[in-house]
């Protein structure tokens, strides 16, 4: 059985497949271009419901109902009618099949509590809109690097704060994408995260409690 969300095997020159979720027509077009320019395959959908449908998580077929290409990264808008990006994030992180897929939240509003909640729920990063090409290039590069590192070391670090020990012990040695926060913070409020290192970010979140 394939581990859903499995990324590139090291040395592969395969393109990343990114699932972009945004209710704005304009923003979908832009993010699609940003991603294509960054050498990614893109599937752009207009809602969280559609995203779940695409992943096969809509309660229909279950976790094995994967449509076509594996998804290596999900970029979702925060404010969407129906299901917000935050709700979508939670659903993905609570799914055993897809929790490994890095999820990036995009929002035009730079609200600290919002950023915190998203990171707490396991978002890789919170980008303030409008998203720039440099953001996307950095994200996708990190995604590729991480995939290659994982392939080499067979290491997987679980990001969820409390359930860490339970889950990581059952990890396979497949090159699934790490959930390590190896991304740069990319936040507008730079004092929130002083360094992109996994441990300091986690420590920072813990300190808040």
């Amino acid at each position: 059985m394939e581990v859903a969300g499995e990324v590139l095997h090291s040395g592969s020159s395969q393109e990343l497949h990114v699932l972009a979720v945004d209710d704005s027509y304009v923003d979908r077009k832009v993010i699609e271009k940003l991603l294509k320019t960054s050498s990614c395959k893109v599937t752009a959908v207009e809602s969280g419901a559609r995203a779940l449908q695409f992943l096969g998580l809509d309660g229909g077929k279950g976790s094995l109902g994967f449509n076509g290409l594996k998804v290596n990264l999900i970029m979702t808008d925060y404010s969407m009618p129906g299901m917000t990006g935050y709700e979508l994030l939670k659903k993905i992180k609570r799914s055993s099949a897809f929790r490994e897929i890095p999820v990036v939240i995009m929002s035009s509003e730079n609200i600290l509590t919002r950023i915190d909640s998203c990171l707490e729920e396991g978002a890789e990063e919170f980008l303030v809109k409008p998203v720039k090409l440099s953001d996307v290039k950095r994200l996708t590069k990190d995604c590729v690097t991480r995939g290659e590192t994982e392939g080499r070391d067979g290491r997987r670090v679980n990001k969820r704060k409390l359930e860490d020990d339970n889950h990581s012990s059952s990890s396979s040695t497949s090159s699934s994408p790490s959930t390590t926060a190896s991304f740069g913070c990319g936040l507008a409020t730079s004092e929130l995260l002083s360094s992109p290192l996994h441990s300091s970010k986690r420590a920072k979140l813990r300190d808040r409690d």
Binding site: S24, Y25, D27, V30, S108, K129, P130, K132
Partner: protein, 150 residues
């Protein structure tokens, strides 16, 4: 300095859009995404924006005809409008959107109404200028690179 008169005109129009504050850095971001495989990318995005924003303006107009104002709804529409305006780099329009949202948040109906009139003016002006700009752009043919305004 461009020798080709059409390109020179285009450069002047473009510079003016930035100098007068109609457009911001985000527009340059879009220009940088334009290439041979997608030579009309910017115009395509802007065209999508016109459609999107025209619809939202209509929604807001209709919402402003119903008293008492539903500020929550007005704010929601404006949030969307602001978002797409921001995505194409429509600086003045974005600023008016922000102001409108402030009025919504403070429940200032009159402020909303006045602000919306101003917003529509800015939007119409921007649209006219961009339409003229792209018309020349199409005639002038592809420009080499997007350049940052000083």
């Amino acid at each position: 300095m461009e020798r080709n008169p059409l390109r020179r005109q285009l450069q002047i129009m473009r510079k003016s859009l930035f100098d007068q504050g109609y457009l911001d850095e985000q527009f340059v971001q879009l220009e940088e995404l334009q290439d041979e495989s997608n030579p009309n990318f910017v115009e395509e995005v802007v065209t999508l924006y016109y459609r999107d924003s025209a619809r939202l303006i209509l929604n807001i107009e209709q919402a402003l005809e119903r008293k008492p104002y539903n500020f929550h709804k007005l704010d929601a529409y404006m949030h969307q409008f602001k978002g797409s305006s921001s995505s194409i780099g429509a600086k003045k329009v974005k600023a008016e959107s922000t102001l409108f949202r402030e009025y919504c948040k403070s429940g200032n109906g009159e402020g909303c109404m006045r602000c919306f009139q101003q917003l529509k003016k800015e939007y119409t002006t921007l649209r006219k200028k961009l339409e003229a700009y792209f018309q020349v752009a199409r005639q002038a043919g592809p420009m080499e690179t997007a350049c940052r305004p000083k």
